[in-house]
Each structure stands twice: as C-alpha cells, then as structure tokens.
Symmetry: C2
C-alpha cells in the first residue's frame, strides 16, 4: 500500500508569521513524523496574482525556507521543493485545462471570493482564474493522499478530485489518486490590531524572525477590550486579541481559563495579561529566531537543501506525468 502523503506549501510573498505557525506550520511539524510530507514553495502560484512583481516572489523564496527550518520542519523528515523547478506541473495543468470548463472555474467559490477581495473584475488574469487547475496538477503530481486546508479551501480539493475522476474515467484506468483534506482545528489568527487578517501590508503581523524588542512592542500594542478602562472593570475576552493569542499559544490551558475568568469578573489588568503573553511568545520565538538566523547565515546550504528536495520531487512528479501521458497514448518515444 502506498504511504499516506501530504502535499502542502506556501506562496513566497513575504516572511511567514505566527498566523502561519498556528494555522499550518505547527501541524506540519507534527505531521512529518506520520506522513511522507512534501512542502512546496509555490512561486509559480504566487505569480498568478503578483504577475507584475516577479522580484517580490523570487526574493522571498529563501526567506520562506528559513522560516520552515525556524518552525521546526526537519529536512530529514520533510522534503522541501520549489514549484518552478518542477516542469511536470505546468504540463499536467495543460492537460487538465481541457477537462474543466470555463463555467466550472467561474463557479469556484474560493476563486469567486478571492476575485472580489482582490478587486480584479475585468482585469482578472487568466492565470488566476485557472489556478485551481494548477493546484490539481500539484496535488496529483505528488500523489498526495492528504492536503491540509482551511474550510475555505475545500472547493479546491473538490475541483482536484473532479479532475481525477474525469481523467481516470476518460482513460479507463485509475491513474490519478483522489485526495482528502486535513482540516485545521485552529481558525485564522487575527492581526495584533484585532483585524481578521494578519498581513504584512497591514503591518499587524508577528513574523517568526521578529526581534525580542519588536515582539514585546507588538504584544503591548495589541488590541484588547476597548471598554476595559480600569483594572477593576470587568473585561471581555471574546474578540480580545490577547486572549485569542493566549488560547492559540499558551501551553497551560488551565492558567488561561483562570485568567479569562479573572479578567471577566474584573481585577485583572491588560498589562499583566500582555506580560504573560509576551513571556509565552518570547519562549516560543527565541529558538525559531536562532534557527532562522543560522539558516540565513548559510544561504548556499539552504539553497542546496531546496535543490535536493526539488530533485526528488522532480523525479516523483515526472513519473506521474509519465503515467498520465502513457494513459493518453502520448508516449510515442517510450
């Protein structure tokens, strides 16, 4: 039986932050012990909505690699690879594009929401409309059985499995493998300003490599309950970013529950809560920062690591492409 395989990854559009850590990196560090795990830096996909800033994408590839090592991904357990180093992916995409209608792509709820969010309208790049097909190529090329996603990404896996079924039925053989989601337990971490999205452009992130001083400042600038004016006042913990973060990061759940109760009945100040959160995040990030710096001090080695993984991935994805072409009869040269 084939080993359960995870494909996951990130678009290299900026350094990773603690939102990525709770949302995906932490799970990957765990998963690498139980699955064959490929982590792909999706530079080609990043270009689908950064087509006019290739230098931004290219410039972040090694940053993201450093973040992976920082977060605790282990190169002996996880294979890192680079999307643009895998020519089988766009070739599979080309074949799959013939099996999906434009109408079907326009119905994709994730793409629809993203089109609105990014304000594309008539200027929608063709590569953006078709990126779910390119994702299907990624997933199937690795024979991924499991793909960690958020709820909002489920339509992507449906699209992938639709293509898998259509292709297999077309050629009358089970050439491609369907995948299933691993749904994250953790919802999306808000920015330090309480906004729903942590993003570099909003300046509300805590990156994995943030220096201790900056981290402390970020925590003490954090959004809490605006009506909690005096320490003695009762405060709200819902929508209070400090408590959202304590829930996400503090290992001592009993302590967090106690703090919440105290805050709600009054008598616990924001400063005290922020101190506790700061301690917790400093403890979490200190070793990450160190690993990140060490990784970036040896850029040549970091690049070589990505290259070796990409070579392995190239072999695997190339063999799946070979199966696909053989099944279609497009293997003239053997």
């Amino acid at each position: 039986m084939q080993q359960a395989t995870i494909l996951t990854g990130d678009r290299p559009t900026g350094p990773l932050h603690i939102g990525h850590y709770v949302g995906s990196l932490r799970q990957r560090v765990e998963a690498q012990h139980h699955y064959r795990q490929f982590v792909m830096i999706a530079d080609q996909q990043a270009l689908t909505d950064n087509g006019h800033q290739p230098e931004k994408v290219a410039g972040n590839v090694l940053e993201v690699m450093a973040d992976y090592l920082a977060a605790g991904l282990d190169p002996s357990l996880t294979t890192f690879c680079l999307q643009s180093a895998l020519p089988a992916l766009p070739e599979l995409t080309a074949y799959y594009l013939n099996l999906v209608s434009v109408a079907r792509l326009e119905r994709n709820p994730t793409v629809k929401a993203e089109i609105q969010q990014k304000g594309f309208a008539r200027s929608l790049p063709a590569g953006f409309l078709t990126y779910p097909v390119s994702q299907a190529a990624d997933i199937t090329a690795f024979r991924a059985s499991h793909v960690p996603v958020g709820e909002d990404q489920l339509p992507m896996l449906e699209q992938t499995n639709e293509i898998v079924r259509r292709f297999n039925s077309l050629v009358g053989q089970p050439v491609l493998t369907e995948c299933q989601p691993i749904l994250g337990a953790q919802g999306r971490l808000p920015g330090i300003d309480g906004q729903a999205k942590m993003s570099k452009s909003l300046g509300n992130t805590i990156t994995l490599g943030m220096e201790a001083d900056a981290l402390r400042q970020a925590v003490f600038a954090m959004y809490t309950d605006p009506h909690h004016l005096r320490v003695s006042d009762p405060g709200r913990v819902e929508g209070n970013t400090v408590f959202t973060y304590l829930d996400a990061f503090h290992p001592d759940h009993a302590l967090v529950a106690e703090l919440k109760a105290h805050y709600q009945r009054g008598g616990l100040g924001d400063t005290r809560c922020k101190q506790i959160l700061n301690d917790c995040l400093q403890t979490l990030l200190a070793p990450m920062r160190a690993r990140r710096q060490a990784a970036l001090a040896e850029r040549g080695e970091l690049l070589a690591l990505l290259r070796r993984g990409s070579e392995q991935a190239r072999e695997l994805t190339g063999s799946v492409l070979g199966d696909v072409k053989r099944a279609m009869g497009l293997d003239y040269f053997g």
Copy 2:
C-alpha cells in the same frame, strides 16, 4: 543577426489533405530553403478541443509525419518536432497566463468564431479559451520571427506580440522576440462537394495518400455548376469546384484561363474538365503517395526522425525558457 525562423505546424487530428497542401505545405517546401524552419506537430493543442479523444490525437502523429515527407518537406532542411515533447512550452504558458486577462481572451475574434463554430457555449474547456496563450508560448519559445497564417489567424499573432511587449517591458529587457505573419496568397480550398471547409467528418477531402482509383472517383464526383446541364450550355466557373482546383493546382495557367473562357461560353463539358483535373492531381499525388508509403513502411525511422528534431527543439525552447526565468529572477539554482 539572428537567422529568420519560421514556426508552423498542424494539429494531428487526421491525415493531411490537398487543402493543407495548397494552404501551407507547398509554402513550407519552398520556405525550407530560405528560413530556419520548425514544423511542430501540435498534439497538446489538438487536445484543447479533443480532450475526450486522446487516442485520436495520438493515433495521427505518425500519419502527419508521413504527410510531411510526402509533401516534400526535407528533414535536412526542416526540423520536425512534437509539442508534447517540449516541457518548456506549458511552463512558458503558465507564466504568460498571468499577463493576459480573461476579458482579453474572451475578446479574441478567432477564438470567438471557433467557440461559436464548435458550439461550446457553457461547456467551453478552459484549455480552449487559453490556447492563444499556449500559441504565444510556442512562437516565442522558438524565437520565431515569421509565422505563416491565414487572415483569420492574425489575432493570434497580435496576442503573441502583446505578450512579448508586456513581458519585455515587465522585466525591462528585450528577452522575447516579436513575430510577423507570412500571409498565404491562397484562400481556403473548398471540399469536393463545394462546401467551404474540407473536413474528414464531411467526407469531402482528398488526402495526400489517397489511392489513384479513389482520387479519380473523388474528382469525377466533384461539385460543378448545377445549371450546366448540356455540354453546349454556358457554364459558371465561380463556385465551380473543378475550376477552383484547376486554379489551385494546374501549373499551366494559360491553359486554365482558356478552359474557363470555353466553359463560360458553352461547348466544354464537365467530364473533359474533370479529366484534365484528374490528370493534374494524379501527377501531383503519385510521388507523394509513394513517399508516404515508404515513410510508413519504416515507422521506427519516422519516429526517430521526430525524436531527433524534438531533441533539438527541446534544447532551443529550454534555453528561451531559461532566459525568461532568469529575467524574472526565478533562476535560483543557476
């Protein structure tokens, strides 16, 4: 200075016919003496509207190769290659898709007309909508300076040159080369039934490999002037397929002009005209049929010829892809 380079080719969806001969093959036989010429069998593009019949596409690759040799293309002057053997093409397509809007693709007049003609409507495959981008990848990957096209294909070259200019301006270097059309003097040859389109499914073609008896039958079944009932009647030469073919194929233009005048004033029978056309086409096709049979008798050699050409094309297109990725900064591994 770079040598003037032609890229041209065919979708392998059936054996080639004399419509292809007058429309393109004849010009290629001439052009191979003056240009560096690549002739690509576009199996991937054929799949954009034959996605559910890959076996039809795969089954016609060697047929088309045999037709090329039959028509007089010379492997020492023309390089034959296979689209699906050139991974640089779909990868370039992936990058270019980010530089073209969906709205722009939907405005393409050629694609619009073809969508209507093929009756796609809501079931339009994404690969069909985006095939002009894939053509831009083909043309630019070969650094083609010249592309032979019909009037109806000019929008494809405009789309290509738009992508070239957008990419070059994006990276601030003239990485890609614009192309110009070589417009065919000859319009489209009608089917033997007088229909505008010669097509295998309509059963109105004369293939390059047609046997002598079948060719004679096809010529004598040909559509003429339905009102030209008696030899002595004046006849029409406009829309009369026999005269359209004589114009296209007969080397003696003075004779054809004389026949037309005679036919128009009356006294020249269809049978006599068809005999002259039959003689002319038998003379044209006899050596083609012989070359075609010889080529197909050695399928291994034919395949090896395609493979060698594809390897050369792979090197060239790979180097252009390398230039494109380098210009975008996506050349991490050197």
